[in-house]
């Protein structure tokens, strides 16, 4: 049994984190997922900025899921001003999100997560023995980026989203090439589901409270009520009544917990468990073929669920492109007013909540952002307690590796988690 596990620089996660476990008298004595990535104080620096700058500024919280920030920000503003973006503009936003999910999921499945299962340091090392697999992953990822580039101008921090819609919308013909590519991607995603389902998973089922958006007739991206498998069912506007952020000593990120029941779980597993019936028939069939039940409680299997969501994204993207007709205007008109707006959208890693208060001049007076990773932090730590306790007799190196793997299963985005407001200044 190890005395301690110490991973100072967690590899293959987005951002900077460390992992510490201590053991005493044959038991786990302490677990810390430590986030030492320096805070960047987005909520503070948003104050005084114009309402139509928030999405471009907050997208810089995370280079891996900029669309999520842009979507949560513009929907919160639209909520504040009492407008709703509908029709083809709404569909284009879904398409944009499909692109980000494909890109982000392919990155995680192939480059960050799979090497854990196959015993490599990373995808580049893995490519030496499995060139076709890594190549498939890279091409899938590229197609996700191509969607974002077409609609947004570039893959990282795209420029085309605005409050009310877009600066410019594509013609139907612009999608021709992409549609061909997406058909390939759909096959590749199906292969990905089969391949990930064939990996070996540690046995580890937990009784989580899963939280995700739920929309009455689609798999959730930008809209829905926040629900859970343990009775939560609220409008996004009620988020602050039910969730609270806590500040702990070992982390530069706030832990978000549910006021009533504490730790909870957001992300692909939660979405899948709460929205299985909204997946496309092809994605549902792939899940069944992979032997995955409609609810899954093993975090290590999240790699299969990301693959299923990737398949869904390809399907959904093809549907949107097929039904697309160029809208008359790229954006609906916006009249800012003094109000508070709320939005939650489903980032690749889970629910991303934004709240903004705006004054009569259209300037931001207050901002709050709760990213998925700060919501999952407590659950990750709980998992590590249970996992390490259960597998305490594994050889040290093996236990350490599996603990790291458990953390990576959440696809934590540490850049996202450390954006927050509070600070203590050391003078230079």
């Amino acid at each position: 049994m190890p005395k301690s596990i110490k991973v100072d620089v967690l590899a293959r996660v987005e951002g900077e984190g460390a992992l510490y476990l201590n053991f005493k008298d044959g038991k786990v004595a302490d677990v810390q997922l430590s986030i030492y990535e320096p805070p960047r104080f987005f909520e503070a620096l948003l104050r005084g900025r114009r309402f139509d700058e928030a999405h471009d500024i907050t997208s810089r919280i995370c280079g891996i899921c900029p669309i999520a920030y842009q979507m949560s920000a513009v929907h919160a503003m639209e909520d504040a001003f009492g407008v709703k973006v509908e029709g083809q503009l709404r569909a284009l936003r879904r398409l944009l999100y499909c692109g980000e999910w494909i890109e982000s999921h392919a990155l995680h499945v192939y480059m960050l997560h799979a090497p854990d299962f196959l015993g490599y340091h990373g995808a580049i090392e893995m490519a030496k023995d499995h060139p076709a697999i890594v190549e498939r992953g890279l091409q899938l990822k590229k197609i996700g980026n191509e969607i974002v580039e077409l609609l947004g101008g570039r893959a990282v921090h795209p420029v085309n989203v605005c409050v009310g819609g877009f600066y410019k919308v594509p013609h139907k013909r612009d999608f021709q090439h992409l549609a061909e590519r997406l058909k390939w991607a759909r096959d590749a995603a199906l292969e990905t589901v089969r391949w990930t389902a064939s990996l070996a998973f540690p046995e580890f089922e937990q009784d989580y409270e899963f939280v995700a958006l739920r929309h009455e007739n689609e798999y959730p991206f930008n809209e829905g009520r926040l629900i859970s498998n343990k009775g939560l069912d609220i409008a996004v506007r009620e988020f602050d009544d039910h969730f609270a952020e806590q500040h702990v000593a070992h982390s530069n990120a706030l832990h978000c917990v549910m006021k009533e029941r504490g730790a909870y779980f957001t992300g692909p597993l939660a979405r899948y468990n709460l929205n299985f019936d909204q997946l496309s028939p092809l994605a549902q069939a792939a899940a069944r073929e992979a032997g995955l039940p409609p609810t899954c409680h093993n975090i290590f299997q999240s790699i299969i669920i990301r693959s299923i969501e990737t398949l869904y994204d390809c399907d959904e993207a093809l549907r949107i492109i097929d039904e697309y007709e160029m809208p008359d205007v790229p954006a609906i008109e916006i009249q800012p007013r003094a109000a508070t707006g709320y939005a939650a959208t489903e980032a690749p890693r889970g629910t991303l909540y934004h709240r903004y208060s705006i004054d009569e001049a259209g300037l931001i007076t207050d901002a709050k952002i709760v990213p998925p990773t700060s919501q999952n932090q407590k659950t990750i730590e709980n998992d590590l307690w249970h996992f390490a306790a259960r597998y305490i007799n594994l050889p040290d190196a093996e236990l350490q590796h599996q603990c790291e793997q458990a953390v990576r299963s959440y696809d934590p985005c540490i850049s996202c988690a450390t954006h927050f407001l509070r600070l203590n200044v050391e003078r230079t």
């Binding site: 503070a44 090392e125 091409q139 990282v156 000593a249 509070r422 600070l423 200044v425 230079t428």
Partner: protein, 258 residues
């Protein structure tokens, strides 16, 4: 044939969003070729194999915002033959450098739970304010083609070809009609360094300055033009205060009395 030692590449992260280093992984068609040409010796986001320094080339993303990072960048410099900074955080302090303009007292008055848990400096500063930098690649985010060009130039010991002209020139090259002339849309293109390929104007939007100030930008004249287009002076100043706010020409032009 003499065996050539592969050059060792390291990728470091400071305060940033990860977007610039992600651009390397976004080179889906070239990544494996790059990995064949250099030894990727330290790149935690991509691999858990940490090869010890020294390194031939270090790519540094992010700005310095903590005392610990101010120390760490010295270590990185010591271990690196060449050091290239990638992205606006590293070259100009990034969006987080907006704190540099804030009254620190005002920041500290903002309510916090346990300030003693957090350590941060009052300023976010570019890497070049701390150590010698061999080349700065601009952008928020960087352009991945430019990144490949810079790495390849380094491998072949030549000067990278990254044009210093303004975004306007890229609009002309792309055949985009000037949004300021044609539609009266305020645009930072005339004072912003090229590199992105003039994306925004091609989407009917004014440039918002991701690549920072070009050489000797005439910001005063552009600000005047914006005012003539009906933008109030405060909003003009704010426009310079984004991802490259701490770069000197933008910093100066953004001041209320500029």
């Amino acid at each position: 044939m003499k065996k050539i030692r592969k050059l060792k590449l390291a990728v470091w992260k400071f305060a940033s969003c990860d977007g610039c280093q992600l651009s390397l992984l976004d080179c889906e068609d070239e990544l494996l070729a790059v990995a064949g040409a250099v030894e990727i010796a330290y790149f935690p986001e991509a691999s858990s194999n940490y090869v010890k320094g020294p390194y031939d080339l270090s790519l540094v993303e992010g700005s310095v915002t903590t005392a610990h990072d101010a120390e760490r960048i010295q270590q990185v410099r010591k271990q690196s033959k060449a050091l290239i900074t990638i992205g606006a955080c590293a070259t100009a302090g990034g969006i987080q450098a907006l704190r540099n303009f804030a009254d620190v007292e005002e920041f500290t008055r903002i309510v916090y739970a346990h300030p003693e848990y957090i350590r941060t400096l009052s300023q976010s500063t570019p890497i070049a304010e701390h150590v010698k930098v061999d080349f700065e690649l601009r952008g928020c985010p960087i352009n991945k083609q430019q990144l490949l060009e810079v790495v390849s130039a380094f491998l072949h010991e030549r000067k990278p070809n990254t044009p210093p002209h303004s975004t306007c020139v890229e609009c002309k090259l792309r055949g985009t009609v000037c949004v300021m002339v044609a539609h009266g849309t305020p645009c930072l293109g005339p004072v912003t360094q090229a590199g992105c390929g003039a994306i925004c104007p091609s989407y009917n939007r004014g440039c918002y300055g991701c690549f920072g100030p070009k050489e000797t930008p005439n910001t005063a004249s552009l600000s005047q033009q914006w005012v003539q287009l009906g933008v109030n002076k405060e909003a003009v100043n704010q426009a310079y205060r984004s991802f490259n706010a701490w770069a000197e020409p933008f910093r100066k032009e953004s001041l209320p009395d500029a």
